[in-house]
């Protein structure tokens, strides 16, 4: 369509002599108009359309905290404390009972409650931010913390057989029913257990799931409890029955943190015994796990400790007996578990006929607190995040500070700090650094108590009007 006579100029004179060519007005418009149109359109810039920005929830002081404390066996005391706060009145309640009992708590003092059933503790107001609790046992020393209801729990190293059986305790602190789905993994992969799907716990009650009854099988297992409705506190009571000359050993299996690729099991107990590391891989891909022994200032792979392969959706058990036992004597304070995929882990030790679980702890900048059962206790610090100081403060049952130690830390280093006798509560406060901490208590047996940061908050989500779907 671009013939010469159609070009925007028109001849005005003779064919040859037309030197002057007048540009017709329509030709000018024909050039200008598309340019103007396209030019005008280029000014349309919807890119500036503001996106609805994601606004995270505001963290505020919690207004209410519920703790679920596992049941005891006859005379296991339940200790409650208001950590680093002003104290207040907590309400304790036993499932299936409507009445609650008030318990007065003072700052950093430990109050003992004599109740062997599962106990639901509620702290409101200022107490909500500082309420902690633990169930302990003197004979065959053991201690386990009361748990905050959360949507997801992992327990690694549970048993469902004759020589090792575990019972999951599910307690519902609310009025409405709660529903949990329990997934079980074995060394051969996940097991489909219909009765563990949609376990309903009516409001204010608790439910026990004896795994040896529900899913009887040998070997070490791992379970995940997903709370799909309502809120539940989940705890596991672990038992190795009397077999032949071996006496019965019982305790609580603490929940593992969420699966991760790097974890530090801090607090190894010396003495004669057997160490079993249980690894679980809830993912689908195989994970290769490397184990390193951690001392106060180094970490290394001891001879004979090989890489462990954990298939997706399965549980792997590694017996470490001599390897670790020898190293503890040499000053090992923990075990580092590094894997190519997220796994959970628990180190179970039977020392002098007592069951001890070492659990992963994470370095944190926040102050960490734990209730300490009576016995010879020392704090183990590990994996410092840089040069700094950790303050270790010990309090007795009345909330009186017994001692305060300052420990100099360098990057990656650790430390062991002995605690004075009568320590009932310990607080580790890192300065300019982060550090992971556990308490190892020895008495009539031994136990390892992890120190957890008391970071507890209520979420005030950003709420705005939206469009219905």
């Amino acid at each position: 369509m671009s013939e010469p006579e159609d070009t925007p100029t028109t001849p005005t004179g003779g064919r040859r002599s037309a030197v002057r060519r007048v540009v017709s007005p329509t030709a000018v418009i024909a050039v200008l108009l598309p340019l103007l149109t396209v030019g005008a359109l280029s000014l349309v810039r919807p890119d500036e359309q503001p996106e609805q920005v994601a606004r995270a929830a505001e963290q505020v002081e919690p207004s209410r905290t519920d703790l679920v404390c596992p049941p005891g066996e006859g005379k296991d005391p339940l200790d409650l404390a208001a950590a680093a706060g002003s104290g207040g009145e907590a309400a304790t309640r036993v499932p299936d009972e409507d009445e609650s009992t008030p318990v007065e708590l003072r700052q950093d003092a430990v109050t003992e409650v004599d109740e062997q059933d599962t106990v639901l503790v509620r702290g409101t107001g200022e107490l909500a931010a500082e309420l902690i609790g633990a169930r302990s046992r003197e004979e065959g020393l053991a201690s386990t913390e009361c748990v905050l209801p959360r949507p997801d729990y992992f327990f690694t190293g549970v048993g469902a057989g004759a020589n090792h059986s575990s019972t999951i305790e599910l307690a519902n602190p609310d009025q409405g029913p709660a529903v949990a789905d329990v997934t079980v993994w074995t060394s051969n992969g996940p097991v489909d257990v219909p009765t563990l799907r949609g376990v309903t716990v009516p409001g204010g009650t608790s439910e026990s799931l004896d795994l040896s009854q529900v899913v009887p099988r040998r070997g070490e297992l791992a379970v995940e409890v997903v709370v799909s409705r309502g809120r539940l506190g989940a705890t596991v009571v672990d038992e190795i029955p009397e077999i032949g000359r071996e006496a019965r050993v019982a305790g609580w299996l603490p929940a593992s943190p969420e699966p991760t690729t790097d974890q530090l099991l801090l607090g190894l107990v010396g003495g004669e015994g057997e160490d079993t590391l249980v690894l679980s891989n809830p993912g689908t891909d195989e994970a290769r796990v490397e184990l390193r022994v951690v001392t106060e200032d180094a970490s290394f792979v001891p001879e004979g400790l090989e890489e462990v392969r954990v298939r997706g959706g399965s549980v792997e058990t590694v017996t470490l007996s001599t390897t670790v036992r020898d190293q503890v004597r040499e000053g090992a304070i923990g075990l580092q578990v590094t894997s190519t995929g997220p796994v959970t882990s628990t180190l179970r030790t039977v020392v002098d006929g007592d069951l001890v679980h070492a659990q992963p702890v994470s370095p944190t900048e926040a102050a960490t607190t734990a209730l300490v059962p009576s016995g010879n206790a020392h704090v183990v610090l590990g994996r410092a995040g840089g040069a700094g100081v950790a303050e270790v403060a010990a309090y007795d049952a009345d909330g009186k500070r017994l001692r305060k130690d300052k420990v100099e830390l360098t990057d990656g280093s650790g430390a062991v700090v002995d605690l004075p006798k009568g320590t009932a509560l310990v607080r580790v406060t890192p300065r300019r650094t982060e550090v992971a901490a556990s308490v190892v208590v020895k008495g009539n047996g031994a136990t390892v108590v992890p120190l957890r940061p008391l970071v507890r908050f209520g979420l005030v989500p950003d709420v705005r009007p939206g469009l219905p779907e």
Binding site: M1, T37, P62, G458, L459, V463, P468
Partner: protein, 940 residues
């Protein structure tokens, strides 16, 4: 012995015709024995003409009706020796020389005949048939049994018995006339012949029509050529009154009540019809005729008694009356005539301009000379364009497959269950949406309600989507054809029309508007070619047609603006540009009111018709709706590239197609011959881009959503402008038929351009459904939706999102958000009290915010999948909320323990809303009446 025949001629101001009448009467092959002339005080020279021809003339007063004049004439006949036969003649009818002979011959052949009538032919054409006997239908219509303007080719030349014959040329036995009491003086001018015939038949006499006898009749009174004091201006009144009177006084007693009711209803129906074609005077005449008779029942009763006294039965009449179905057939004919006239209003604007300019009109030989010999199917199959069109529509329907049945998804909300929901939405001033809002329903709810009432709501949406491409194709074809004929008399070749129309028809699909479920843009796109077609009427040489075009464009623009409000802003800018350019080119021509008036009317019409939408929208602060596309908010972000390549956001066919169209539109500017019309297309695109720039500056922030303006309609207009530019330039270049490389270049460009519709169609067939689905899942359990339908106070609070990224809340009521409610929900102000309470509810179980929910009209709280565990945990711990079940494990739901408060949220309909809607309805009817084609006053 031969019978005596006296001709009785009545005249009133008939000097125009009388010389011919006298000539016809005197040149009879069988001469009349005497002529008695009666003149009702003519103001012209009629009496002189009559006196010259026939001697003494009887003179009656000016207001004398025909029956009275006949009575006076008969007295004169009797006085002058009586007669066997009386031959009635009017001053505007002239008999053929053999008329009387033929009539008398027929009377001899059929001795029982008492009344005989000739074949009436039109005067002055002399060829067209007027009447061969008449009868009357149940609605009072004078029935001749002839087609309008039928030529006399001897097709009705049988002597037959009829109900009545016209008094013009009626040959009647003198004694019969006497026994029947002459003509009824209640009918001075019209209709007395039918009444007479009816009475004659009822009394057992026989009326025959004798086609061999021919009388030419000017029908001066009926056509309004002659005004008498008796008819005045209200001829229609006289005719209707006579018709009603005839039916009422002659009907059998048994059928009388039914007739009374039927005629009253019929009158109102006819009035409505007449009003709709702007014949207000005739409508009032109808009413006046009815009132005049129904208001004086004694008159009717007296006439009925009189007929009974004369021994009238009803036996012989029935077969001679018009069949019962005839009025309905006439009604159908009228409607189809109107429809044809309405659809063809702008079709021949090109021809009319050419005729007005004195240029020759091309005789387009569209018919194949073989056509007559081939069947329809063969003709269709041998026409490549017809086959191509069929194939195109079939493939477009395949592309639109998702829209069959119920459809929703993307920006399209599901249709409500019943059209009543749409009516309610349109009528309410306060909707029970959210916590109650006075944001008005969008304007397109009314057309949806109208269509939905006819075919159902789901079918309405389905039809609009399925027919979008075929209807656009049809409209574009018509528009492009007229545009082509405006340029030159031959018009574009069919294949070029096909190429242009298919490209245009695919714009709504290829732009992505269809797949995104932007129903408003799709409907506006469908209306666009028809709107453009109507707007071509502004170029009509006749002012009346320009005005009709103005109203028609106004209605279509209102429809387009109801679905895509930007259509109005665009038309405003375009009108300003075009009228401005018009004043620049010819300010004198533009000063004519019928030149600038119609476009002004077209632009003003939507303002009036859409009043119930835009006025409350501005008053309630939801004026953003005046710049949004219909459907869910926010709008698709349309940027420079989208506007140039014809897309809505990321949706639609490949960008390359749009770029090719743009390139062709730019190339279209090259040929100088068609540059002006192509520039007009570019002005259209420029107007659209101006609107896009201005509206692109705005960001509309409502509580629930922030959105830019919806530029969908502008995308379509720009693309359509490009298509028209390409077709116009191609047509011009083709007609110059040059050879060489120029020709090859043209072929090349056309080939490249034809890739656009081809690939576009292929894309639509494959990717047609887009975001559309059979149904959408709201994530809310079905039993809650059922409970919500119990009433607006059974609301469902839906909290979406997570604590990490922020939560949004909304309230679902009744059947959820359905088509038409999106804009209301998107633009309404959120209730700050409820917002605060929701914040408290999800923050902490201690705050006891659940207790406030029944007061907000909320029965359930839902966290749709995937529910945030932290938020769910807070709600689980809240007293006053009971867990409720949900199909999906990742959806969480609670029931508010306290019962809902009735009336917590309720819709309202304020008086002003009713007033606005009634005004809107009247406005729509008025505008529709004004856009109907003007009816020439036709002979009945």
């Amino acid at each position: 012995m031969s019978a005596t025949v006296v001709a009785l001629l009545v005249s009133h101001d008939g000097a125009r015709w009388l010389p011919t009448v006298v000539e016809g009467l005197t040149s009879q092959t069988r001469p009349v024995d005497r002529v008695v002339a009666v003149d009702t005080t003519s103001r012209d020279e009629s009496p002189q003409i009559l006196t010259e021809a026939f001697g003494a003339v009887q003179t009656a007063p000016g207001g004398t009706g025909y029956p009275a004049a006949v009575r006076i004439g008969l007295e004169e006949v009797d006085r002058t020796g009586g007669a066997d036969w009386v031959w009635l003649l009017h001053d505007d009818c002239t008999p053929d020389p053999g008329a009387l002979e033929a009539l008398l011959a027929a009377a001899d052949a059929r001795p029982h005949a008492d009344v005989l009538g000739p074949k009436l032919r039109e005067w002055p054409s002399l060829r067209r048939l007027l009447e061969l006997g008449v009868t009357i239908s149940g609605t009072g219509r004078r029935e001749t049994g002839l087609e309008r303007g039928e030529y006399d080719q001897g097709q009705h030349d049988d002597v037959r018995e009829v109900l009545a014959v016209n008094t013009a040329g009626m040959l009647v036995r003198r004694d019969v006339l006497a026994r029947l009491g002459g003509f009824d003086e209640q009918m001075p001018i019209f209709g007395n012949d039918i009444d007479f015939g009816w009475r004659a038949s009822a009394a057992g006499y026989t009326t025959l029509v004798v086609p061999e006898a021919v009388v030419f009749h000017a029908e001066a009174a009926h056509r309004g050529v002659r005004r008498t004091p008796l008819t005045g201006r209200h001829i229609h009144y006289q005719e209707r009154r006579a018709a009603l009177y005839t039916l009422l006084v002659n009907a059998s007693t048994r059928s009388l009540p039914w007739r009374v009711v039927r005629l009253a209803i019929g009158t109102f129906v006819r009035m409505l019809g007449l009003m709709l074609v702007r014949q207000v005077g005739q409508a009032l005449d109808e009413l006046a005729a009815l009132v005049s008779l129904y208001g004086s029942p004694r008159l009717v009763l007296r006439a009925r008694r009189e007929r009974r006294r004369r021994g009238a039965g009803t036996s012989g009449v029935e077969p001679l009356l018009a069949p019962w179905w005839l009025p309905y057939r006439h009604g159908l004919d009228v409607v189809s005539d109107l429809a044809a006239a309405a659809t063809n209003q702008a079709a021949d604007v090109a021809e009319r301009r050419r005729i007005a300019a004195g240029k020759p009109v091309a005789v387009v030989d569209e018919e194949d000379p073989w056509a007559e010999e081939q069947g329809f199917v063969a003709r269709f199959l041998t026409n490549p364009v017809a086959v191509g069109g069929l194939l195109f529509v079939a493939l477009a329907l395949v592309g639109a497959r998702e829209a069959f049945g119920t459809v929703a998804g993307g920006a399209l909300s599901p249709a409500p269950a019943q059209a009543a929901d749409w009516w309610r939405l349109h009528l309410e001033s306060q909707h029970a949406l959210g916590q109650g809002t006075s944001v008005p329903a969008p304007a397109y709810v009314l057309p949806l309600a109208l269509l939905g009432s006819l075919v159902g709501t789901a079918t309405t949406v389905s039809l609009l989507l399925v027919l979008a491409v075929p209807l656009t194709f049809w409209g574009a074809w018509r528009f492009l054809r007229v545009v082509g004929r405006l340029l030159d008399e031959q018009g574009p070749p069919a294949w070029l029309l096909f190429l242009g129309a298919t490209t245009w028809a695919l714009i709504p699909a290829a732009s992505g508007a269809w797949g995104l479920g932007r129903l408003g843009v799709v409907v506006a796109a469908t209306v666009l070619p028809w709107l453009a077609h109507a707007a071509l009427g502004f170029a009509d040489p006749e002012p009346d047609r320009r005005w009709r075009a103005g109203w028609r464009t106004g209605v279509l623009l209102a429809l387009a603006a109801a679905f895509a409000p930007l259509a109005f802003w665009f038309s405003l800018v375009l009108a300003a540009l075009v009228v401005g350019a018009g004043f620049y080119v010819s300010s004198r021509g533009m000063r004519d009111r019928s030149v600038w008036g119609p476009p002004a009317v077209a632009v003003a019409t939507p303002v009036v018709l859409l009043l119930p939408w835009w006025l409350p929208a501005l008053l309630t602060g939801s004026g953003a709706g005046l710049a949004l596309d219909a459907g869910r908010l926010p709008m698709a972000a349309v940027d420079f590239a989208d506007l140039v390549t014809g897309h809505l956001g990321d949706a639609g066919a490949p960008d390359t197609l749009g770029l090719m169209l743009l390139a062709v539109a730019v190339l279209a500017l090259v040929p100088a011959a068609t540059r002006i019309p192509v520039l007009v297309c570019w002005i259209v695109a420029f107007a659209a881009s101006l609107v896009a720039v201005v509206l692109g500056l705005f960001t509309f922030e409502a509580d629930a959503v922030t959105t830019k303006a919806g530029l969908g309609f502008l995308v379509l207009v720009i693309q359509a402008g490009f298509v028209v530019a390409a077709v116009v330039a191609a047509q011009g270049a083709l007609h110059r038929r040059r050879a060489g490389w120029g020709r090859r270049a043209l072929v090349g460009v056309v080939l490249v351009a034809s890739v656009v519709p081809l690939v576009g169609l292929g894309w639509f067939v494959v990717y047609g459904p887009g975001d559309l689905e059979d149904s959408t899942d709201t994530g809310i359990p079905a039993y809650m939706m059922q409970s919500a339908e119990l009433g607006p106070e059974h609301g469902i609070l839906v909290v979406e999102g997570s604590a990490d990224t922020g939560l949004t809340w909304s309230v679902q009521r009744e059947d959820g958000v359905t088509l038409g409610e999106d804009e209301v929900v998107g633009l309404m102000a959120a209730d700050p009290t409820l917002g605060r309470d929701v914040g408290r509810l999800v923050s902490s179980p201690e705050l006891e915010a659940a207790a406030t929910l029944p007061g907000h009209g909320i029965e359930y709280v839902v966290l749709p999948s995937p529910a945030d565990g932290d938020v769910a945990a807070v709600l689980d711990a809240t007293n006053g909320l009971e867990q409720a079940s949900a199909e999906s494990r990742t959806t969480r739901a609670w029931r508010v323990a306290e019962p809902v408060e009735p009336g917590a949220v309720a819709p309202e309909t304020a008086w002003w809303r009713v007033v606005l809607v009634v005004l809107q309805g009247l406005g729509i009817v008025a505008v529709l009446v004004l856009c109907a084609p003007t009816q020439r006053k036709e002979r009945r």
